[in-house]
Assembly symmetry: none
Homo-oligomer: 199 residues x 4
């Protein structure tokens, strides 16, 4: 995440804005058509520019993916920080629940994360990008771990891992409509898990 320092009001801002518009368009298109259904042309059109304009800001489709995923993790981190900070008790629970809700409400971003890990090609991710994503994920993990520790729970790391795994499992089963098939509700299941696991 680069911190943009807008210079006066002439050139710097439009550029930044165009970038954001492209990213927003890409997110919209991913949501509507899925990761593979999204084409660069469609993204460009939705962003109100040409493919060339996209390529002058992103090296390709993969970088677009990566940028969106990075932004997603960053937003999650922010929500997580705020949630944990403002919790008046059971910070760990709040943190894990926040993680769960975040992806429950943003299926595309979950899909993006899982997709990028499978690797968008035989070469997988750029090492730089890989490190970047890992760092963001670790930060999220640490925030949750710390919240659990703050609650005085033992083995906070293991609880954080387990909680996130449970959330991911429920989210995947939910998104693939498996949970409905089993007549279960993602939200309720997550609550039940937290009740049990954070005693």
């Amino acid at each position: 995440m680069t911190e943009q320092t807008p210079v006066s009001g002439t050139q710097a801002l439009p550029e930044d804005r165009r970038r954001r518009e492209i990213l927003a368009a890409a997110r919209r298109v991913f949501e509507e058509r899925g990761l593979d259904g999204a084409s660069m042309r469609l993204i460009a059109r939705q962003a109100g520019c040409t493919t060339g304009a996209v390529y002058s800001r992103f090296t390709g489709k993969e970088e677009l993916y990566a940028e969106i995923l990075t932004a997603s993790l960053s937003r999650l981190q922010q929500e997580l920080d705020r949630a944990v900070r403002t919790a008046d008790g059971g910070r760990g629970r709040v943190g894990l629940h926040c993680f769960f809700r975040y992806y429950l409400e943003r299926p595309t971003e979950l899909a993006l994360g899982l997709y990028l890990y499978q690797g968008p090609g035989p070469g997988g991710l750029t090492p730089t990008l890989d490190r970047q994503l890992n760092a963001a994920l670790l930060e999220i993990y640490r925030t949750i771990t710390q919240a659990l520790a703050d609650d005085g729970l033992d083995r906070p790391r293991s609880r954080a891992t387990a909680g996130m795994a449970h959330a991911v499992g429920l989210l995947v089963l939910h998104q693939t409509r498996r949970l409905k098939l089993l007549n279960a509700d993602a939200d309720r299941q997550m609550d039940a898990y937290l009740d049990m696991a954070l005693r």
Copy 2:
């Protein structure tokens, strides 16, 4: 009216063997490139035949996928039945553990199941195929639920759902190398979960 002059290439093979070779090739290609990245041409080449030969046995990519996934679920069902039947106590635990181990040892088959996520097109799978896969999954779910009930545990359905979700979450994090990043071990985490959840 197009005219082709076939040239002898690959020889005819016993029907069953050719079929198996195509399925094996498809499994390999799906594993390496994902559902969308796998092409019928590549599958054919890997199977040592032409696309026409593939299409004479399978109506298309989806049927190939279905055949492989169905076989996978059926193998899992068999292992599950055997495991639960021969367990001398804690049948539920044995069942859930079997589910977990099955996919831990067969990353491809888990990936195959999760590809449903992206959805192989607008509208998802053929309704027939969808029902078939759902039925297979439900049977697995029922087997585990029954095992938990046999153990005298209350709310066996909810426990089965939660257990499978936890397994899926751990498997996804494991397969995507997240678990290693968090310095956790899938097997240990699953054991810990079962200890806690099946009390």
Copy 3:
């Protein structure tokens, strides 16, 4: 994610010219091979560009076909209007003769119209296109009907239908070399018909 590395080939052309070249190529190919025998690849090659360049201007084969047929009907309508307007007597005869001559001199365009016969697939043409073509044909029909009415002939609608049908029949037999086989001359036959029918 497939990657392509475009190599400079044909140069970019003024938009209008490229369009016209593609349409001309399509006309040629449709003429030589029929609607079903014509392939987009062949049309592109004949137009000196790639399939992609064709698809960036036309949504598909049917739109190409529609464009050509619409233009043809529009040209016929123009000629018809002019012929009928400048006729100093026997406007109906002039109109029907114009219709006949138009296709006699443009075998391709007649063939194109008749290919509808086979139907470009189950279900025929796109409803929109169908309406468009029908409207154009009706306008031609009305022009001829009006010309016959102006001549003071009774039952102008029936005469218009019959006259057009006769023309089409002669044209089809002529184009398929049947008329030569029967030792007849299309032009003379049409004249004889008009002599008899427009009394």
Copy 4:
């Protein structure tokens, strides 16, 4: 048309029957799917045999077409002969009407005739086949001409040509649904034509 002389009752008949079954199947498939939509595989399946069995009796798709068209013309000739012979007056009218009705009731056979004339490929028809079809058509033409002459009408040849042309025109417009668009009825139009032309 080869005259089959069945030898006793063992081998000769089945062979002939298989041929007829293939031809019948081809006709059915042409009717259902159109000329280009018909595949040799489908024809073979409908005939209850394999593609190989078809190819052992016909050199290819074109020969199948030709055989069916030849049979069609021969049936038309038979119906025509009978109709003209049994007519008690206005033999010419009966003949032309028979020609018209025959194709009105057999759209596929009309399409086949027109299609084969466009030529199923860049090479067009086999010269032998071409001669054969021309001879059959000429015979039909002569039958109608003779019937008109028998009625005492002058210029029977020209009347036969015109009558057939009118029929073909109406049939083509009818089959392409143009006639309905013009709010006309093929049957009535043909009757009106005959009333006028055979005075």
